[in-house]
């Protein structure tokens, strides 16, 4: 069974954070303390590589990457 996009995202978040991604897809990755300000650019770069997209400067808003659900919504918009 192929890996789902959500599973791929969870793996990226775990790789960057060094801890498992939250079960709740709406949980804030920042307020929960999972990601800090330096992990965020690492996560954005990892998303760009994993999904072969370019996140333009205009989209560099932490809120777009604040939860699994928000990242999914951002990827849907691309």
């Amino acid at each position: 069974m192929p890996e789902s996009r959500t599973d791929k995202l969870r793996k990226l978040i775990q790789d960057v954070a060094g801890k498992p991604a939250p079960a709740d897809e709406d949980e804030s990755l920042f307020e929960s303390g999972l990601l800090d300000s330096f992990a965020l650019p690492d996560l954005v770069s990892a998303i760009e590589q994993a999904f072969a997209i370019k996140v333009p400067d205009a989209d560099l808003n932490p809120r777009k990457f604040d939860s699994i659900a928000r990242i999914e919504a951002y990827l849907d918009s691309k």
Binding site: F30, S37, F38, L40, P41, D42, V44, S45, D57, L60, N61, P62
Partner: protein, 300 residues
């Protein structure tokens, strides 16, 4: 039109403030501060030591006995609001009567903006004295995440149309005011760290690459990167994005912390005393505004 970097200067206040001292004040550990920033200690000016006082001392270190200055540019984001800015006072204290003195109140990117301006104004003014002086300790509030970062100090550079050791080749500057509230001071510094780091980690390597591409220089050819000393974790990411060794990024942030606009010139001053790199040198800054930019120089 050619402009040359001749020499640098610096001044750091005597008082050393260690992580242990701040840890006690802000409910953090010294190790946490170092891991979060790469900073071990910073300098604080004494109460009656002003931005102008520090600027004069850095300028004297740069100029030595010469006072042949056609234009003075003073970058400082931590100066008092209102007018006149400190540039006129600094020019007067240096004995530069009737020399035009320009304030650049734009914080961390101030010295790279000043260097780009000096490069273009040297043709008309001859010797341009660029100074960046900051008293960041006066802006620190109760937020530990910002209070641990900043220190005080001043740096200076002499740029001239007369040939010198480094030829200034090109500069790229950018500003984007939609982020002006993410890093600001109205007497107390506030910072949206998530947004500032996210943009700095992309815009700093981005503007360096833009500068290198249009001058047909590969990042691997650059001998040294003289970058605003914001945070060691940020410098690490900028180096990684550019694909160059971190050793090429001169850093003294462990000793002085983030001295805003002054940091790039303080770093250049220390670097120039101990290094004889032959390849091109890239200067880069990013900060409040957001303003960011990069300048390319090479050995003459």
């Amino acid at each position: 039109m050619s402009a040359y970097l001749h020499r640098f200067g610096r001044y750091l206040p005597e008082r050393v403030v260690t992580n242990a001292e701040l840890a006690a004040r802000f409910d953090r550990t010294a190790e946490w501060i170092e891991n979060a920033s790469g900073i071990r200690e910073r300098r604080y000016a004494v109460a009656d030591e002003s931005i102008a006082d520090m600027a004069v001392l850095a300028a004297e270190d740069c100029l030595r006995d010469s006072r042949e200055v056609g234009l003075l540019i003073l970058a400082s984001g931590s100066g008092a609001t209102g007018f006149p800015g400190p540039a006129a006072e600094v020019a007067h204290k240096l004995g530069l009567e009737n020399t035009p003195a320009l304030d650049l109140p734009i914080a961390s990117a101030g010295s790279v903006f000043g260097l780009a301006l000096a490069m273009r104004l040297a043709e008309a003014h001859g010797n341009v004295l660029l100074i960046a002086s900051e008293k960041m300790s006066a802006l620190i509030g109760g937020d530990p995440n910002t209070a641990i970062l900043f220190g005080d100090g001043a740096g200076a550079a002499l740029i001239s149309r007369d040939p010198g050791p480094w030829r200034l080749i090109d500069a790229v500057l950018h500003s984007d005011g939609q982020y002006r509230d993410d890093l600001k001071s109205d007497g107390t510094l506030t910072m949206n760290g998530l947004n500032v780091i996210l943009h700095a980690s992309r815009k700093m390597p981005g503007v360096i690459q833009e500068l290198l591409d249009r001058n047909q220089v590969a990042a691997s050819q650059v001998g040294a990167f003289m970058v605003h000393q914001a945070n060691l974790n940020l410098l690490t990411r900028v180096a990684k994005t550019l694909g160059v060794d971190l050793e090429k990024f001169f850093s003294n942030i462990a000793s002085y912390g983030n001295t805003s606009s002054a940091s790039m010139l303080i770093a250049a001053s220390e670097w120039s005393e101990t290094n004889s790199v032959q390849g091109p040198v890239v200067f880069c800054g990013f900060g409040a505004g957001f303003h960011w930019g990069a300048v390319l120089a090479e050995r003459s």
